[in-house]
Subunit: 438 residues, 2 copies
């Protein structure tokens, strides 16, 4: 089938990231969506600016209307930011019968009611997963995954810049102004950081979450908003003494009287998972009547995390356009004629580190014997612990942490170790995974 | 529009929970799906058994074929468990042109390839969100939310019983056998706990996750499976000394050679969020190339958490059956003609606890003055901290933690406190939220 052709409004961080993800994962995406997705036209304010992506096959213009009006473009992706021109171009695309994907939280929070109304009348899709919490699929979770529930409340760390600043203040006892300057030099905060630190960005996102959770029109003007400028390292320390962390939360809560919508610094018990979400990461804790609490964690901003959500929306649109509506989403995610040929491996081929526990005769040289066997098998040792045996015991516990090794190698080495006279019984082994990431 | 009529196979814990959620949230679900969803026919092995749900409006039978064959039933919900009869009835429903929703992980892991093939040929939907990690919408996240990504690996705590046992062993230094007996008496573990403790249940779920993540057919027989029976409190203690926790993980990882699929006890660094997921809760950490790490946390079992996923699948099917395919999922989650009338509240109406920090003249009676104002406003104090002031200082810091109170009341009290001669300047206030749940 013909690729679906899309136009991008804006080719900055998120636009460039979207072009890169669509190019790098082109096959994977086509296998899921049923058709390839191709960027054919893109607009940027400054045509001469250096880009993070290749422009192969893309017509570049400084007239965004040209992208919207391009007859081969069937989906317009709005990544330009701002609310005036973005609103006009979004409505123009809808009028022309084009589907729209947007990452623009301010646009959705302020003009969403008008835009969705226009889209319904025209019979086109408008998708906005990337507008809230970047790559975390929270819109999908709330609109679809929790559709059987009555949502009670949502509490979210939904501004990564603010969370980075609070995390640094807490970890290093630094002042707000000091960390803000660093966040700006790292590119996390804009030259004008007011949207982030005053909570306006979080308020845009909270307005969107609340509308979806509670079935209300968007009401950005009802969000109470307080920033993080006045939080001091001293407050963080004092809160810590009481067992709390300070996080900048967006909270939407259904009460007997209505819906609370508020963004402000908040003390939360340090034992909660969400209290331990640090740096630029985002997380949303949702309380719903049937499922209870669920939490969603990931990167809330950045080129490729945001592109991840933009492309998910594109796949959603393409699946609806293209496939049998009864099998919109393939059972196993990829189209049935595009299943992978990767082999499923045996455990012998797995590579992990190991925790090894064994009982050794308490005499000199045992550790050397064990270490020699491991060394000959190419297995290096990260840590050894040999606790003092109880008084009078003739055997001592020996604990080793290995570096990663293929299981097949470890099996051979363990066979040799268990055959040693100086080792009693079997070696207990538990695999170790670093799970770098969260 | 006419309600959609569904039939349930199995009316135990999950079946009863599904009936209850559909009844309790009937309006909310109809507002999201565009039509009401009604259970009209259900089967159970023992008709005389007590149920956790009302049977109003439901024809009960001990012949599951009667539910499948009932001409008014358009969606069959398979919650009976097992793989032989469940397979036959699922294929029978598909043959009859009915959509199927299932929570049966063993059925999907063992017979999914055959069932999905039949569904594609017949043009019906088969949905199975409830088969993995209960109420956490992880199938939706992987199949749709991360559709732009190349998935690198998934590591999950996907058996709540096993995680409960390991959490108790670690917290209380208790033996495996001892905690297993408790889990059985609490109803977390079956009389025959082998599926949980030997890792078979987790292997079923991992096979499903891997197929979806990597675009492969289901391959349960390729999953290496090791249970938790041999983990000792001593291993947990020793691992803790090294900075690790022991969790029972399902791991699916793409390598240069193929796909690793393994379920086994695993040491993970204690600083990872997933290392801090305790008790019967589940969590999945997904590493993907564009978005980076994302984590999904929630209840993986139980009547209503599992029902939450079953009903989400029902809403998905009904939305596809009913609505304009271009607007399958309403922009704001609820159908545009079913928006809520709940008011959005002002911050003055919010009820939270407060952390208050103020500078007081270091003289007797100040705390009494402040406490009197708070007491008269109906605000009770949970904690007071008054650090020793630096030598020679004439002012002392006073920190209070209040119980929850309406913001309007707190504003009045703070005005009075700031007017006291004994208090300097403004009172710093930060709201406190317990966020009970994670």
């Amino acid at each position: 089938m013909e690729p679906v052709k899309i136009g991008l409004l804006g080719l900055g961080t998120v636009g460039g990231g979207t072009v890169n993800v669509l190019a790098r994962n082109r096959d994977e995406i086509a296998r899921r969506a049923g058709r390839a997705i191709e960027v054919v036209h893109a607009s940027a304010r400054d045509l001469a600016k250096a880009r993070i992506c290749s422009l192969d096959g893309i017509t570049l213009t400084d007239k965004p209307e040209a992208v919207v009006d391009d007859p081969q473009v069937s989906i317009v992706v709005e990544l330009m930011g701002g609310t005036d021109l973005a609103r006009d171009l979004t409505l123009r695309a809808i009028d022309a019968g084009k589907h729209v994907v947007t990452a623009n939280k301010a646009l959705v929070a302020l003009h969403g009611n008008e835009i969705f109304d226009a889209a319904r009348r025209r019979g086109v899709m408008v998708a906005f997963e990337a507008a809230v919490a970047g790559g975390i699929p929270i819109i999908k979770a709330l609109r679809e995954g929790l559709a059987g529930n009555r949502i009670e409340w949502i509490a979210g760390i939904i501004n990564g810049t603010g969370n980075f600043i609070l995390s640094e203040m807490r970890d290093k006892g630094r002042d707000f102004e000091d960390v803000l300057a660093q966040a700006q030099s790292l590119g996390y905060a804009e030259a004008d950081p007011s949207f982030d630190v005053q909570g306006i960005d979080a308020a845009h996102k909270l307005a969107i979450l609340a509308a979806i959770a509670f079935g209300k029109p968007l009401a950005f003007d009802k969000v109470y908003t307080e920033g993080i400028e006045k939080v001091t390292p001293e407050d963080m320390h004092d809160a810590g003494q009481l067992g709390y962390r300070i996080k900048h939360l967006g909270i939407a809560r259904r009460t007997g009287e209505g819906v609370e919508l508020r963004v402000h610094p908040t003390l939360i018990p340090e034992r909660r998972l969400i209290a331990n979400v640090n740096g630029i990461m985002n997380a949303l804790l949702v309380m719903a009547d049937a499922v209870g609490p669920t939490l969603y964690y990931g990167a809330g901003a950045g080129a490729e995390p945001t592109a991840s959500a933009v492309v998910a929306d594109l796949v959603d649109v393409v699946r609806t356009l293209t496939t049998d509506p009864n099998n919109r989403v393939p059972h196993l995610a990829f189209q049935p004629d595009a299943i992978s040929t990767l082999p499923m491996l045996s455990i012998d081929d797995a590579v992990t580190a190991y925790y090894l526990r064994m009982l050794a005769k308490d005499r000199p040289g045992v550790l050397a014997e064990v270490a020699t066997i491991l060394g000959n098998a190419g297995i290096s040792i990260e840590a050894v612990v040999q606790p003092q045996p109880p008084h009078g015991a003739s055997q001592a516990k020996l604990i080793l942490l290995s570096h990663p090794v293929r299981e097949r190698q470890m099996n051979i080495a363990l066979g040799q170790i268990e055959a040693l006279d100086s080792i009693s019984g079997k070696v207990t082994r538990i695999r170790v995974e670093q799970l770098d990431g969260d």
